[in-house]
């Protein structure tokens, strides 16, 4: 065993100090591939990105395979020479990225990595290519410096995280034996604050919908028809306005039935975190915060479910005026879910609600686009001990246990299919614009992340075995 206050092993430190410029150049290459999974016009890029990643994994000494799916391919790399008695760690990440629109709001092009103020700007820099690459290069450090890893390692990178991971659960189920592991490690989240390493203990789930309201067969002149034909955009607004009551509670019948109450201990821990509403508000740029009555900001984001409009489109949206009675109106709406809400069941409740409040004179349909289950971790045991030690070694500070309002739906799949504990150890930061223009990763976090993950691998493999140490 290693001392609680150990440092990053000096040979690994040396490797990173020496190799980081090259590692960063490789990362730039990775980020330049526009692997936008939501856009079919980028299918070839997404495929090329999987190939690029597989090649990298082979170069560091792993056996890599590209598995085709009904959607984008899954890349799996294995290194199993630690033997059957050593533990096996499964690392999960994704090489696909969010769409980049609106393009005009990017300061530098989304697929041209650019450094400003210690931040590396590019689509995918933090979500999740940069964080996935930390694991690849941490493994390389151990393989190059020690000739081996202290544990068996499987790296699984999918290309459909940003579009609902449709084919991952099936893949994990079918390949449960290959993916069997003692722990799953994922870096696809953020630290609580700059310099404050964090372990993520909860994730919200998701149920994402599109509501389509269709009125007249085509756009009509609002003068010649307005007043006698139901306006689908107004109908949509009325439907959306029924989703919350005056206290910010969601009014969908049965929506809260399965919501687990958080124990007082966890709510108290949240209150102790160095968090200021004012700072958070400033970061968002909004004029005031809002949300469900009776909950603080972090509670609203980590503990409570939501129902949000993600997009609206109807009629004429260009310059000036066009007096049109639109034929149709569309809303993208998604619910963030908390344990033990189930996305499939929420989809039923949501659809029933929309149908119930839909006005006469328009056709209203609800499409359930995708979803994922919420998750909470068990924080006791050697996996989390190792994570705390590794983060302390790399960042020089005790990690905090935090929640996350976002969704990593696969965490639920790994828990369910592989029955493996999951560790979420992320290196993003608040304000990183993961799904917005000007996405970035902190270069300091990237650098310390390499050291933390390499140290984590050491610890999970049984503690320090530094060559010659």
């Amino acid at each position: 065993m290693t001392p609680a206050n150990r440092k990053v092993a000096s040979d690994l430190e040396g490797f990173f100090a020496r190799e980081e410029p090259r590692i960063r150049r490789e990362l730039d290459e990775f980020l330049r591939i526009p692997s936008v999974s939501a856009r079919s016009e980028h299918n070839k890029d997404t495929e090329r990105c999987a190939e690029w990643l597989a090649k990298q994994l082979v170069q560091i000494g792993m056996k890599a395979t590209i598995h085709p799916t009904a959607g984008h391919p899954i890349v799996v790399a294995e290194w199993r020479d630690a033997g059957p008695d050593a533990p096996t760690i499964l690392v999960y990440g994704h090489y696909d990225v969010q769409p980049v629109e609106p393009l005009e709001l990017w300061t530098s092009p989304p697929f041209e990595p650019t450094v400003r103020d210690g931040k590396l700007f590019a689509r995918g820099s933090v979500d999740d290519k940069g964080q996935l690459y930390i694991h690849v290069k941490a493994a390389e450090a151990l393989l190059k410096q020690r000739g081996r890893l202290p544990m068996n390692l499987v790296i699984l990178a999918e290309g459909e995280e940003e579009v609902g991971s449709d084919n991952l659960a099936g893949f994990v189920e079918k390949n449960a034996k290959m993916l069997a592991a003692d722990a799953v490690v994922i870096s696809d989240s953020s630290m609580f604050a700059p310099g404050q390493p964090s372990i993520l203990s909860s994730l919200r789930g998701l149920a994402y919908f599109q509501i389509d309201v269709v009125g007249p067969a085509q756009d009509l002149h609002s003068g010649s028809y307005g007043g006698a034909v139901v306006n689908p955009a107004m109908a949509l607004a009325r439907i959306l306005s029924t989703m919350h009551d005056a206290k910010g509670r969601i009014t969908i019948k049965g929506f809260y039935d399965k919501v687990r109450k958080w124990e007082k201990r966890s709510r108290d821990a949240i209150k102790k975190l160095p968090f200021k509403d004012r700072t958070f508000l400033h970061e968002t740029g909004a004029t005031a915060l809002g949300g469900e009555d009776g909950f603080g900001t972090l509670e609203r984001i980590w503990m409570r479910p939501t129902c949000e409009v993600n997009g609206l489109l109807s009629g004429y949206t260009g310059e000036g005026a066009k007096t049109v009675l639109p034929s149709k109106a569309m809303a993208k709406v998604s619910c963030r879910l908390v344990p033990d809400q189930d996305p499939q069941q929420i989809a039923k409740l949501f659809t029933a609600h929309v149908k119930r409040v839909a006005p006469k004179g328009v056709k209203v349909s609800v499409q359930y686009i995708h979803g994922g289950k919420p998750w909470r971790a068990e924080l006791d045991g050697p996996l989390y001990d190792a994570a705390r030690l590794a983060l302390r070694a790399a960042f020089g500070k005790e990690p905090v246990i935090v929640g996350e309002g976002g969704s990593i739906p696969v965490v639920g799949d790994f828990t369910r299919v592989l029955e493996t504990p999951v560790l979420l150890m992320g290196f993003g930061l608040p304000g990183e614009n993961a799904h917005a223009p000007d996405e970035w990763i902190s270069l300091e976090n990237f650098s310390k992340g390499l050291r933390a993950v390499a140290t984590l691998y050491e610890e999970l493999g049984g503690g320090r075995r530094e060559a010659g140490g």
Copy 2:
């Protein structure tokens, strides 16, 4: 005086029978010019369109001038050789057209006139180039066949009707002397049904707004922020949902204060018109009609004001899903007005309402884009007698008196500034898609319109004076 049942003069009939193919070719030329006044990228086309029209007016023997304005130019043509004792008729029309988006819904390109099933499809075919051109060619028929017009004629064509006629009222005021007339004639409306000539006795006014709701400074990840930051798209939906009560009445305080009650006689006349809800519903393609309780369909369109959403835009509207908390949301909203509502006053009431219901946490602004006053005609006197006679002669059927839900704001300006009675005699038809893809004009109506307008000019000039007749 001419007999009540007179026919179209035979020399004019002969002229049109002979010249219509050429007239149609010229109209196609007119329609090919994409004079979209709302789009600055079409400014050159709009200017070119004014020049084309002026040249045509000179060719038929009028004196034409292009008057620059702060926006698009106004074309005025004059023929005053009937002498000071003859009446003067002012014809108003517009050569600008609506935007054409969404382009993919056009069966044939909007600026490539195409005939299908007796309809001429093109942007501007009916609104208003086709109808304006009927007047130009009716004047040509008289000038060519008789060597003169029986009355003095001024044709005024503006290029900003589809963007609110911002510069017209000022122009009319400044040039009231040049435009002084005994009657204003406008063809920019529709007949009640195919084969049923119609005189328009009322128009709704308009007040057009844009509501902008701004929340966070940029799009945020809906997982990391959702639940604690007010969603501007949801806020916009809630604002819009407050505009009507459950009975379809507009809830803006003071909105109905100035609405004039229609006399029983007019409501009874509406009920006698050959109108079927079922046919109207079928024409719209909607599943059911709707609107304010206590009013029939034609009453809802002609007599009652509205508040409609013309466009909605927020966040992600592309393929698939993007879990974004949008930075902003926009709605185009317009109110159709009835006598004696005033657009400026409605703008104040509308803005006050939006500000009152705007939720905390978002910045809400209302922009009044443009407006126009509602109008009702006095139906007695020689102007309307001549119109009835001319329409009967060309269409072989007694015209009906109808209302119109659309707006021709300039009618109010002519009434106010020139103190002249206005005659609205249109040749469009229901379903003509004036502001939508696949706009068309009936070729039969275009043809009979030529004859009706030439006959109207004859009548307004003192009755039949057929050469050699």
